[in-house]
Amino acid sequence: MSRLTWWDRVRRDRILLLAAVPGVALLLIFHYLPWLGNVIAFKDYQPYIGIFDSPWTGFANFRVIVNGDPAFLNALTNTLIITLLQVLIVFPAPIALALLLDSLMSERLKRAVQSILYLPHFLSWVIVVAIFMQLLGDGGLLNNFLREHDLGTVSIISNPDAFLALVTGQVLWKDAGWATILFLAALSRIDPTLYEASAVDGASRWRQLWHITLPGLRSLIVLLLILRLGDALTVGFEQIVLQQQAVGADASEVLDTYVYNNGILAGDWGVSAAVGLVKGVIGLLLVLGANKLAHRFGEQGVYQR
């Protein structure tokens, strides 16, 4: 059979090609076209003139970043602290939870617990924040209890000093259960004969955890850490916007809220676009770098070489 020409193949696959058109068009318009919009990072963008006619300003908008404008630095610091907390606390929590769930003997109980713990993932941030207000707010469940027992009250919701603990707690409540799903699947794939053999050799359960279970989860952990790194400068945007009023910008401003507050609300378009652009580029570089590192350690990473 002779090789089909390109045109023959297009004709043969015309239905498949047509099928892809609407999806590709939407991606091009809403994921690729905005890249062009980033040019306003190099312009003095004025909405009433339009992108094309706004004057070029070179790298002037980036000066805020380079010169270390205090508001920008505050947002950057808060972002990095929240990211650090997420890697140290939010990331390992589901692994521990998955190990706990996996050790449950009864399959039915296990499934019941799973369906309860997955649920908060599907609630919006507005709902989660509202729920936390009901529980921890000044008139919430906790403070009412404390007041009834003459134990004083604790201010959590509107206390800038408690903000980091609050957002971390909320992320844990919402997503720790859901994040176990991948770890549970990885755990179920570990060869049970490994455990049998190690038991014959007299390994304790802690040694089994260290020498069999954790190595079995290693490549998944690496993969998820890389993906998390790509989002290192993205921390709970909706979550924070919703609670910013109560605690003020000093404690709660992160890069995304900085871009929103200064760009869309305050009209400082160019600078905000510059910050957003730098943020995106750094995120991409972090993913690529981490992936390279993973390859060096013999892991597969997000994509292959």
């Binding site: 696959d13 991606l27 809403f30 769930l101 919006s124 957003g276």
Partner: protein, 298 residues
Amino acid sequence: MSSRTTIAGVTVASKPVRALKGVILAACCAAVIVPFVGIVSTSLSTREQITRDGGFVLLPDQVSFAAYQAILSGGVVTRATLVSLFITIAGTTLSMATTILLAYGLSRPRSVAHRPVLMIVLFALLFTPGIIPSYLVVKNLGLLDTYWALILPVAVNAFNVIILRAFFMELPRELIESARIDGAGDVAILFRIILPLSKAVLAVIGLFYAVAYWNAFFSALLYLNDTAKWPLQLVLRTYVINQTQIGVDQLGAAGVALPPQEAIQMAILVLSIVPILVVYPFVQRHFTKGVLIGAVKG
């Protein structure tokens, strides 16, 4: 049963360790369930009880549906609920159609466009456009203050496309080839063979899309200046998180004694959770399958 704790020869955890595990898991479950119970209870409570219990009721002595009557009698909340329902249904329908078609188009590696189109999808996954440029695109397309602004930018989720494509590619090739020999075209293969075999994964992806549309808060805040068009999440923020008092004017229930604010707030909250609770049990058992395909193959 393959659970390794039952395998002979393996030491089972000691009693105190097992008790501790049980306590931790029970506490986790309670942390999820108790707030729900409290919200539903408060929404059903009378003014006397809410005052007595300090604003948040764990178990009502007396059940009253007044708060639900008030929010569902045609005011701001009713309208916002309808808006959210419309966006969710229209958006999910459009998303499923485009996602299925795109994944199908990509599921045959021999096809001409396979590589470039796959690249377009994968890169969309890696680079997410910033807030400002996305806003400018929506604005320049004239979509501000239209419901399209909440639907079109998120209509195709690249990750869902990848999940679905991986699933399509795992279906036995013999089935598709024998159908082709029997004279079935690409369209018939998609509708008669592939889709019926993919119900579980389609249900999961459908739920992901529906939840995303139903929960859309930030895009609505960003793109809808017209408060008359607000979906439920923005109403929630205004009346529950920002604690703006909700009055007879907003509720559309003229001449009725207003139920307590706390009950109304919690009733709005319940209203926004109910649709998720209704669908969740049906899709929940397919989660593992649906999520894993994407994670392992993507």
